[in-house]
């Protein structure tokens, strides 16, 4: 804020923030530490960060042997990418129409979008399950993707962004003879890049970490998403072989944690949007 304060305050600030940071980071550090240790060093009351006998290779290979971790990562990548692509494919033209075109049903449609923002994803879960079950689609990529094909939050967010784009850009494109369809994909898509990056982070983080929906529709061990896969790994042992379990959680959390550390600013900007989403 203002007024430079003395050295005592600077020390106090670091002490308080440091204690908090230890609490925030302890689970990450402990997870890494246990993933390197043999069982006898895990089941001990001595506190040691680094193992005396390194067992990382066994723990990590054991984690992959017990459950198909690589499948979970692949499923996570395929499903989050498919969901995000479909959400953009559906939301971008609608957001453009709502922000820039005049049509009679614009207001009612936007009201429905706002209404949709109020509904948590858990609410339509039972009908979704019935629909997928009667279509014989449970336990498939289609089932994992289906409820998230449309993101009202995406429509809302991109529409708000398009509202800030000057109309001249669109008029110029029309004078050049571009159709409205071409304007959406050749002019508005590149213009929306910053909004799409932020939305993409929200979407991918949410669906990579989602447990509720995959828990309902996935039954075969190969179809799990990352979060559900972690639980499968946890259930393979009676909860005693912590080394491989921690190695598995390291693998599952690594992609998003690394992405966050590489692009902190973008992640923080993106995730603050979830405030709008609720």
């Amino acid at each position: 804020m203002t007024a430079p304060r003395g050295l005592p305050f600077a020390i106090l600030r670091h002490v308080l923030l440091g204690i908090g940071a230890v609490f925030m980071l302890a689970p990450f550090v402990w997870m890494l530490s246990l993933s390197l240790k043999p069982a006898d060093e895990i089941f001990t009351t001595d506190l040691r960060l680094l193992p005396q006998r390194w067992d990382a290779v066994r723990n990590y290979s054991e984690a992959f042997r017990k459950v198909p971790l690589h499948r979970y990562l692949l499923n996570g990548a395929i499903v989050t990418a498919t969901i995000f692509s479909l959400q953009v494919l559906v939301a971008l033209p609608a957001a453009y129409a709502l922000a820039k075109l005049r049509f009679g049903l614009a207001k009612p449609l936007f009201a429905l979008v706002l209404f949709g923002l109020l509904i948590p994803g858990h609410v339509p879960a039972i009908p979704h399950y019935i629909m997928l079950s009667s279509a014989g689609l449970l336990d498939s990529y289609a089932a994992l993707v289906f409820p998230s094909m449309i993101s009202v939050f995406g429509i809302f967010w991109i529409r708000q962004f398009f509202k800030t784009v000057p109309d001249d850009l669109i008029h110029a494109a029309r004078l050049d003879g571009l159709s409205e369809f071409a304007i959406v994909w050749r002019i508005m898509l590149p213009t929306a890049a910053p909004a799409l990056v932020a939305f993409g982070i929200v979407s991918v983080v949410f669906h990579w970490n989602d447990y509720f929906w995959p828990l309902l529709v996935v039954t075969s061990p190969d179809m799990a998403m990352p979060a559900l896969g972690t639980v499968y790994l946890r259930n393979t042992e009676a909860g005693t072989d912590y080394g491989p379990l921690m190695a598995g959680t390291v693998i599952i959390t690594a992609p998003l944690v690394i992405a966050f550390l590489v692009a902190q600013r973008r992640f923080i900007e993106g995730m603050t949007l979830t405030g709008i989403k609720g």
Binding site: M1, M24, L47, A97, E180
Partner: protein, 311 residues
């Protein structure tokens, strides 16, 4: 139909655009918005309506028939002690996680802003749990809470507070889950407050200093807190909405136990609907859940309107 067409006509006449152009634009707009409109109805709104309708029936998954039983499920809920326990637990969880994570978030944000060094590191450290897969981190917490070799018990033992079986003790299980909830929610609140703090004009602090605000507490009460007020309300409500949806940690770490001590609304809904296949009954719990979230969301909408006036 004529009322719907009015705004378009009015707009067209002001812009002096030919009628053909107006019609083309509207046609293009319908074509562009149609997929979203159809999916909005088919995937979100109609299934939500179906949940509400199901809650008035006795339907079970796989059953050939269903009967309209009116408020039957809700009468059953009102008499169901498990449901009341689960609602009370959810509210207690929200009542602990929301104030703790909001005020710790505010404190951390103010401490980070108060000095120059270490900002990036602290911001990253406190934000890290927001993106990390909660289910995976919950299994780490489970090991840290292990009754004999868990890091937390070792720390408690070292300072003479003894060891506890956190997740199996009815008095401690919900507080333990709340601590995980606070750990996960704090970082997002912190960055929302950091943004709020940055938007406070510096001259206000200078003006406060001239008016005799000498220490940090004076500055906090005369400038920071009044300026952050609307942002704080906003953060409180969105944290409440998010913590109301607590499910992952309960499903993996305690399964609602011990003895229903950590049963929460979404978990009860999951068990009734998908564990016991009572779809109608599960739907009625979902409706209760939706009503609470809607109330919170309406509060948020009011707060956001207020915020616009302040900004």
């Amino acid at each position: 139909m004529s009322t719907l067409a009015l705004p378009a006509e009015a707009a067209a006449s002001t812009a002096r655009r030919p009628a053909r152009r107006v019609r083309q634009e509207a046609l293009a707009a319908y074509a562009l918005a149609a997929p979203a409109a159809i999916m909005l109805l088919g995937i979100l709104l109609l299934p939500t309506a179906a949940t509400v309708l199901l809650s008035f029936t006795d339907w079970q998954f796989g059953a050939a028939t269903l009967n309209w039983i009116g408020l039957g499920n809700y009468e059953k809920l009102a008499a169901d002690r498990v449901f009341w326990r689960s609602l009370a637990n959810t509210l207690l969880y929200v009542a602990v996680v929301v104030p703790a994570s909001v005020f710790l978030g505010l404190g951390v944000a103010m401490l980070i802003e108060a000095g120059g060094s270490g900002r990036t590191f602290y911001r990253a450290a406190y934000f890290l749990p927001v993106t990390a897969t909660l289910i995976a981190m919950a299994t780490v917490w489970e090991i840290m809470l292990h009754p004999s070799v868990g890091l937390i018990n070792l720390a408690f033992d070292a300072v003479g507070l003894g060891k506890h079986n956190w997740l199996k003790d009815p008095a401690l299980a919900l507080p333990a889950l709340a601590v995980i909830g606070i750990w996960q929610a704090l970082g997002l609140n912190m960055v929302l407050f950091l943004a709020g703090l940055k938007s406070i004009p510096r001259d206000l602090y200078e003006a406060a200093a001239i008016d005799g605000a000498e220490n940090w507490w004076d500055r906090f009460t005369t400038v920071t807190w009044p300026m952050l007020g609307p942002a704080t309300l906003f953060v409180l409500v969105i944290t409440a909405i998010r913590s109301f949806q607590v499910f992952d940690t309960v499903a993996v770490l305690t399964e609602g136990g011990p003895n229903k001590a950590t049963d929460v609304l979404l978990y009860t809904m999951y068990q009734e609907g998908f564990g016991f296949f009572r779809a109608g009954y599960g739907a009625s719990i979902t409706v209760v859940f939706l009503v609470f979230v809607l109330i919170l969301t309406l509060v948020k909408a009011r707060v956001m309107e207020k915020r616009v006036h302040y900004a």
